[in-house]
């Protein structure tokens, strides 16, 4: 039996004549963990989608266990023993966890209780704290990810492909996930995983393949890589000093108090939360998944509603406000850049310019009866230029952009509203390192211009690199505040956990 379980030779995939992957060679060994690294748009997702039967190659060959294979559907790939855990959840939100796990494996007669028992035992064996009877749509991102992973393991795949598996996981959940991946490896399963967190690739992988602009750059044993070499190979330039650079030595002084949250309650996520945000500063908000950070600021932005009875107070520019829908919050100068851009951030089949123009329309009271396509193009183009969104044209659909450029569109859609308070929720999740630098520079620039900026992030280096003051959230409320000058990763994590 060959040591190579899956291989691709001269793999090329063209979209409308543009190569997403171009003559890529790839080999996956039996029982190895293989990290696939590259900027957004480098071709990682396309390469793995070819393996998982989501798309087919334009040219080139693929072999599984030494036999030519060209899966045309995920089902065909699953029959070949290849399963993929997608970055965007592919679960059915209205079904329960157990039903999702066994979807496609139904028998003629299905006993629901039996499925729940089997699912319970299986999830426990993986050490996943997920209730099998829970409806998937009501689960948080981390738990959905767990169900995705559990489903792939349940299908007894020989090759499991993870696309950004840890982006939504807490540090503790990540540890479980790493243990699970190592356990799968011991059982002879081969793992391909895509991650933007380079440390994870260095910790977990046996080998790393780096792609750039759809082309294969290098594949080597992990021992021969360090962070700087990976970054350089990914972007063709040295970014290691600009991304999450050295420790802060100065912080911006606080300006006027823009936002005060007092004893805010939104059961069960936000519990008596109080905090302030000041102009001309970046306020970083760190916390583990479930700490109530996103929910607090979604209440501020009118996306969620606080508790009806004694739900606390939101004070904007010294005036109590209560937004039940986002539109008045937008008009009051609050912009919320969502953590879930695919669902909440944009209309994926609309053009870049139209999406940005929608942000402007949201600011206008009552909207507009007649819309100007020319104005939309003009506004869109100006923001595409300002934020350096890489598009082939203003009419390009957002879904066709890479993750980093999609995020820039979401940000542009908010900034076009000229807000005073900008809330970035996980601004660089699923974004490549090149775009991370640009987004970080933009956030810094906004604070320099005197805007009140909030950055919610679960990634400590990002919080420490950006923030002037850091609020740590735990169990629905802010429990600690640090100046960026005094903060260390240990202090912040201790406050977030204990």
């Amino acid at each position: 039996m060959s040591d190579i379980i899956l291989s691709l030779r001269n793999a090329t995939k063209l979209y409308a004549g543009v190569a997403a992957i171009d003559n890529v060679d790839f080999e996956l060994r039996r029982g190895e963990i293989h990290a696939l690294v590259g900027e957004n748009g480098a071709g990682k997702s396309t390469l793995t989608k070819v393996m998982a039967g989501v798309v087919t190659l334009t040219s080139g060959t693929m072999q599984v266990d030494g036999v030519d294979a060209a899966p045309r559907t995920p089902l065909e790939a699953r029959h070949l023993g290849i399963a993929m855990v997608f970055q965007e959840n592919s679960l059915v939100p209205t079904m329960t966890v157990a039903q999702n796990l066994f979807l496609g494996q139904e028998k003629f007669y299905n006993r629901l209780r039996g499925i729940y028992i089997a699912a319970q035992q299986f999830l426990q064996s993986l050490n996943f704290d997920v209730t099998p009877t829970a409806t998937v749509g009501l689960l948080g991102a981390a738990k959905k990810q767990m169900v995705e992973i559990a489903r792939a393991v349940l299908h007894e795949a020989k090759v499991i492909i993870f696309d950004e598996p840890t982006a939504t996981l807490t540090p503790e959940e990540k540890k479980y996930f790493f243990d699970l991946v190592r356990d799968l490896k011991r059982r002879g399963v081969s793992i391909v995983f895509i991650s933007h967190a380079l440390e994870e690739a260095l910790i977990l992988a046996d080998r790393i393949t780096i792609l750039r602009d759809g082309k294969h750059v290098v594949t080597d044993d992990v021992a021969k890589f360090d962070r700087a070499r990976i970054v350089q190979a990914m972007v063709g330039r040295d970014l290691s000093n600009t991304l999450y650079g050295s420790r802060k030595t100065t912080v911006r002084p606080a300006g006027a108090r823009v936002l005060t949250v007092q004893n805010l309650k939104m059961a069960p996520m936000v519990r008596n939360n109080s905090l302030s945000v000041f102009a001309g500063q970046i306020t970083g908000v760190f916390g583990l998944v479930g700490a109530g950070r996103t929910e607090t600021f979604k209440v501020v932005a009118g996306i969620l509603k606080r508790d009806f009875f004694h739900g606390g107070e939101v004070i904007l520019h010294d005036k109590p406000v209560r937004y039940r829908v986002p539109a008045p919050a937008v008009r009051a100068g609050i912009a919320y850049v969502t953590e879930d851009r695919k669902v909440e951030g944009f209309f994926e089949t609309m053009s870049v310019a139209r999406n940005i123009y929608l942000g402007l329309l949201a600011k206008l009271p009552g909207g507009r009866f007649f819309l100007s396509g020319r104005e939309a193009d003009k506004v869109g183009q100006s923001w595409v230029d300002r934020l350096k969104v890489r598009t082939t044209g203003n009419d390009m659909k957002v879904v066709e952009l890479s993750g980093g450029n999609q995020q820039k569109v979401v940000i542009a859609k908010s900034l076009v509203q000229e807000p005073d308070l900008i809330i970035f929720d996980e601004p660089t999740r699923g974004v490549d390192v090149g775009a991370i630098v640009e987004i970080h520079e933009l956030i810094q620039r906004l604070a320099d211009e005197g805007k009140a900026v909030v950055v919610i992030s679960s990634y400590l280096p990002e919080i420490m690199a950006l923030s002037d003051r850091i609020l740590v959230s735990r169990q629905g409320k802010v429990v600690e505040e640090f100046s960026a000058l005094e903060a260390t990763e240990e202090k912040i994590m201790y406050a977030a956990v204990h």
Partner: protein, 365 residues
């Protein structure tokens, strides 16, 4: 009828005037223990106010005026009634308020007789004095309904009878420049504007020469008290207690509050205090909670100590705290002299000294 229904709905839903929330100590008000670590340079029976002429400190201690300049006998004079406010004048004189009802101006601290004695019907609870422009004095009168010592009654009665008075020393004329304030407690003139702290509304207002008011610092998590100028521009603002949701709740429960005031010893009211933790009868001081590995009092702080450094526009720069588990509470006055900040913690009766260099070092740490 509509307002009664609205009031009922607000109380039911916890919104509008019935919102029982307090802001957090964050940003420039982030807690530390600098005030608690400050050196105690004097212990007094009833310290009330503090002033400086740039050479020495003057302390009002009950009916006694003290001068602290390192000499053996600090006592300057005895007065017939308690001193409720004190300030040094630019011409070397000194002004004191007696029992909140009378202001006496002395040409020098040692002058045998007062240069001017001012009384007026509007002066009932003068609690702070500050030099104004053109030889005037600015005085804050906390309440017309209650004497200065009964400030907690004024809070529980939701008093709004505070005034800011301009006193022309030469003509002995008293002119109100602002009224209807919720316990005016501290004033400081800057150019032609007077900054006044309004304790029960938790704010600092700027009063223009035409009498118009503008909030420069609003929604503080504390009850602010006196203001004094800082050497490098801006102000020092003291606060004698922290706001809590419990007290805010009691302030909105009229029937409960009236009964509490009628039946309970004021010492044990659910109300801010200048010191706490002396009796098990005090409301909810016994419990605790373990947070971040540290045992912290569970009960909301009944007393607190705070000095806030404000810039010239009234924006807080930083704050010095004596937190709930400490003793330097009830800070009612602070002045800056010779590179140090001096503050009176009325709760324990202490005069505290914190060098500015030490404050900067602690804040950097």
């Amino acid at each position: 009828m509509i307002s009664a229904l609205k009031s009922f709905a607000d109380r039911l839903l916890g919104r509008g005037d019935a919102t029982i929330t307090v802001p957090s100590f964050d940003g420039a008000l982030k807690p530390n223990q600098i005030l608690e670590k400050a050196e105690t340079i004097g212990q007094f029976d009833a310290p009330e106010d503090l002033a400086t002429d740039g050479k020495a400190l003057y302390v009002a201690d009950g009916t006694t005026l003290l001068r602290l300049d390192g000499s053996a006998k600090p006592e300057v004079r005895h007065l017939d009634r308690p001193i409720t406010a004190l300030c040094c004048l630019p011409d070397g004189g000194i002004a004191v308020a007696l029992d909140g009802r009378e202001v006496r101006v002395f040409a020098t601290p040692w002058a045998a007789d007062p240069q001017a004695t001012i009384t007026d019907l509007s002066m009932t609870a003068v609690n702070a004095l500050s030099p104004g422009t053109n030889g005037t004095l600015i005085a804050t009168n906390g309440s017309t309904a209650r004497p200065a010592a009964q400030w907690v009654y004024d809070l529980m009665e939701r008093g709004r009878s505070g005034k800011v008075l301009s006193i022309d020393v030469s003509s002995r004329r008293v002119r109100p420049i602002a009224s209807g304030l919720s316990f005016a407690f501290g004033a400081c003139a800057a150019d032609d504007t007077v900054f006044v702290s309004e304790s029960w509304r938790h704010r600092v207002v700027a009063i223009a020469p035409d009498g118009s008011e503008r909030a420069v610092l609003d929604n503080l998590p504390v009850y602010p008290s006196r203001l004094s100028p800082a050497a490098s521009g801006g102000f020092w603002l003291t606060a004698f207690a922290a706001r809590t949701q419990l007290v805010e709740f009691v302030l909105r429960e009229n029937a409960y509050r009236r009964r509490m005031m009628a039946e309970i010893d004021p010492e044990y009211w659910i109300a801010p205090k200048l010191k706490s933790g002396e009796s098990f009868l005090e409301p909810m001081q016994g419990a605790h909670i373990k947070t971040m590995g540290v045992v912290k009092p569970w009960a909301p702080p009944r007393s607190y100590g705070l000095v806030i450094r404000l810039d010239a526009l009234g924006v807080p720069l930083y704050a010095l705290h004596s937190r709930v588990d400490s003793v330097n509470h009830g800070v009612v006055a602070a002045v800056e002299m010779d590179g140090s900040l001096y503050a009176i913690a009325k709760g324990p009766g202490r005069l505290l000294r914190a060098p500015l260099a030490m404050i900067e070092k602690e804040l950097r740490a």
